[in-house]
């Protein structure tokens, strides 16, 4: 362990941290500090989660009755479209990378900031600009194409604000691209001395893999929605068969991005879980290199499977076979991760605090969500279940059950670092339990519905499906309450929570070796890393970098 010579006035310096070293709206809106930008993202992403959640609750309410009495068909169609768009593009994709990633990457690798701080702030503004376009589309009447924007419905037949929503997604795409670029460059060039690739926390590896997808996938979506907007506006183009185009080409391009995008959503979550599992059980990750490289493998192979969304679309059956085969191939690295996480717990010292609960829930739900991915990757079964609630259940298991759990778990785990306050443990446990129960009650019945043949995007349905729909709606209300509780107590804790020590978990990792909340420059001096990832040590040895002893805490 490196023990640095103490700076003379460290107590003074640590007392100013990134939160209190300057005040005022301007100091936030013009900040270039990655930690503050992360908080800007946290606020905006949470807003969109609530918005998408409200849409979800309205969807579920409407489906209480077979006749769908609450909303007209058109309004229902707009609801699920806007729910999908908001949740995917404005909550889940930026979620973990732009909030936790932004906050943690520089600290975890021992840098002062991301490589391009101004670009980082610009990404947030671009995100907001895209969001404004989308909000405009929502407020002025909505969009009804489904989040998939399939042509020729979107180019020619829909009478809603497709162009505005498309522009919103086009613009937000650049925010993703710039964030990914920033992460890649940062991880390559800004690592502290001694922080070799294999000493990086696995969260960094997973974000590196995510950034690869941002970089290579997002431009494809951007230009595709741009072409769609042109086609819609000028009635000339390449997707509408009436103009000589092929609608299936749109599907290829859309999924070329959007399948990898589902790994954008899950990889950061897997990174978070690796951190939680290791730190909450004080064990190094079993098979570090396998977990690290499986992230990269998922990112790379994830680009080869997009056609599995198109098995019955009129795509060639042979192409369907290739895509099915590769979908199975990409499932293997995920399996490797699951087994390694499980093995990590063996002979650990497992804490029962909230982040660990989320981690366990994550793995269990990922089993179901991921394995049902294998159902739909099986050509013969997908023919039956595609475009039914089976798919809806599959992707909510992986997106809500997995990524949302990881996000919440991560938020709890790093909350003391981010805010300098502890959250109330009891409430957190209660909320985690409610969310888990509500979640399963919401989405498990949907698997059954789907196999029974209930198609998705249906505003009304044959009465025999009602029982399962009512169960699902009941679950959604529980889930809704469940996710509101953390929102309340986390906000409460910012003011009234107990003051957090620098390392409340006894965790390894550079972010725990600076004060909570960290100073503007993250560390009082550039760390020199001499230890491996997840090298746990008794508390006394895990010191703040640039300080002499642990008792001498700041704050």
């Amino acid at each position: 362990m490196s023990i640095a010579s103490p700076p003379t006035d460290h107590r003074e310096r640590v007392r100013t941290n990134y939160l209190n070293h300057s005040y005022g709206v301007k100091s936030w809106l013009l900040t270039r500090d990655h930690k503050r930008i992360a908080l800007l993202y946290l606020a905006s992403v949470s807003f969109f989660f609530l918005l998408g959640g409200v849409f979800a609750l309205l969807i579920r309410l409407n489906l209480l009755t077979p006749a769908g009495d609450l909303f007209s068909a058109d309004n229902y169609n707009k609801l699920f479209t806007m729910h999908g768009i908001v949740m995917v593009f404005f909550f889940l994709i930026p979620g973990i990378p732009a909030v936790l990633g932004n906050f943690l990457i520089p600290i975890m690798i021992g840098a002062k900031d991301l490589a391009f701080p101004r670009l980082n702030l610009a990404s947030w503004y671009i995100y907001i600009l895209g969001a404004l376009f989308t909000l405009y589309a929502i407020l002025s009447g909505g969009v009804d194409t489904g989040w998939t924007f399939y042509t020729p419905y979107s180019t020619t037949f829909s009478n809603t604000y497709v162009t505005a929503a498309g522009l919103g997604i086009f613009i937000t795409g650049f925010s993703s691209i710039l964030t990914g670029l920033n992460f890649i460059v940062t991880i390559h060039t800004m690592r502290a001395p001694g922080m070799t690739w294999f000493r990086l926390p696995l969260f960094i590896w997973s974000l590196y893999a995510t950034s690869i997808i941002f970089i290579l996938g997002t431009p494809v979506l951007a230009i595709t929605v741009a072409l769609l907007a042109i086609e819609r506006t000028f009635h000339v183009g390449i997707f509408d068969p009436a103009l000589g185009g092929d609608p299936v080409l749109f599907q290829h391009l859309f999924w070329f991005y959007s399948h990898p995008a589902v790994y954008i959503m899950v990889l950061p979550g897997m990174g978070v879980i690796s951190e939680l599992i290791a730190n909450m059980s004080k064990k190094n990750i079993f098979g570090y290199k396998f977990v690290a490289f499986s992230s990269i493998a998922i990112a790379v192979f994830g680009f080869l499977v997009w056609g599995h969304h198109m098995f019955v679309s009129g795509q060639s059956v042979y192409a369907g076979m290739i895509f099915s085969f590769l979908s199975y191939a990409v499932a293997i690295p995920s399996a490797v991760k699951v087994f390694n996480w499980t093995a990590t717990l063996y002979k650990g010292s497992i804490s029962w605090q909230t982040p660990m609960l989320y981690a366990i829930a994550f793995i269990g739900l990922f089993m179901i969500g991921g394995m049902t991915g294998l159902f739909v990757a099986a050509l013969g079964v997908d023919v039956h279940v595609t475009d039914t609630y089976f798919i809806v259940a599959h992707f909510h298991y992986v997106m809500v059950g997995v990524t949302l759990m990881a996000y919440l778990g991560g938020l709890h785990f790093w909350w003391p670092k981010i805010t300098g306050r502890l959250y109330p443990e009891l409430w957190a446990k209660i909320a985690a339990l409610i969310i888990f129960v509500g979640f399963n009650l919401t989405f498990f019945p949907q698997f059954l519905l789907g196999y029974l043949g209930m198609p998705r995007r249906y505003h009304m349905y044959p009465p025999e499906f009602q029982v399962l729909h009512v169960l699902s709606t009941a679950g959604a209300s529980i889930l809704g309450i469940g996710v509101l509780i953390p929102m309340v107590y986390l906000i409460w804790s910012m003011r009234y929570g107990k003051i957090a020590p620098p390392n409340p978990w006894g965790a390894a990792g550079l972010e725990w070796r600076t004060s909570s909340p960290p100073p503007v420059e993250n560390f009082l001096e550039t760390p020199h890393v001499t230890w491996e990832a997840y090298e746990f040590a008794p508390r006394e040895e895990l010191e703040i970098i640039g300080k002499v002893s642990v008792d001498d805490r700041a704050g």
Binding site: L216, V220, F303, G307
Partner: protein, 99 residues
């Protein structure tokens, strides 16, 4: 890792080559090579692009990482093209195998 300064001579020769190749590709376009017109046109374009990338953009003297990044970009483009074309060119096969 200090940077490599490319000499002006190299720049001018690359420049000359690029102009010649442009003339050549235009000239060849007016000759009948059957199916090879497009092949030759793309081959020349590829050579020109490589010249620009290697010398004007200094990739010949750059780190492995830079080369890897470029390779990734081009490779992913080919993934997109080949898998999409794989669909289009096998669509009718299930009932009447391709001649």
């Amino acid at each position: 890792m200090s940077e490599h300064i490319v000499s002006r001579k190299i720049y001018f020769s690359v420049f000359g080559a690029l102009l010649c190749l442009t003339a050549l590709t235009t000239f060849i376009a007016f000759q009948d090579l059957g199916p090879f017109n497009i092949v030759v046109a793309l081959a020349i374009a590829l050579v020109k692009a490589s010249l620009v990338v290697l010398f004007f953009m200094h990739v010949k003297y750059s780190s492995r990482l830079t080369k890897l990044i470029i390779f990734a970009g081009v490779f992913w483009f080919f993934i997109m093209v080949s898998f999409t074309f794989a669909d289009y060119y096998t669509r009718g096969w299930i009932t009447h195998p391709h001649p």
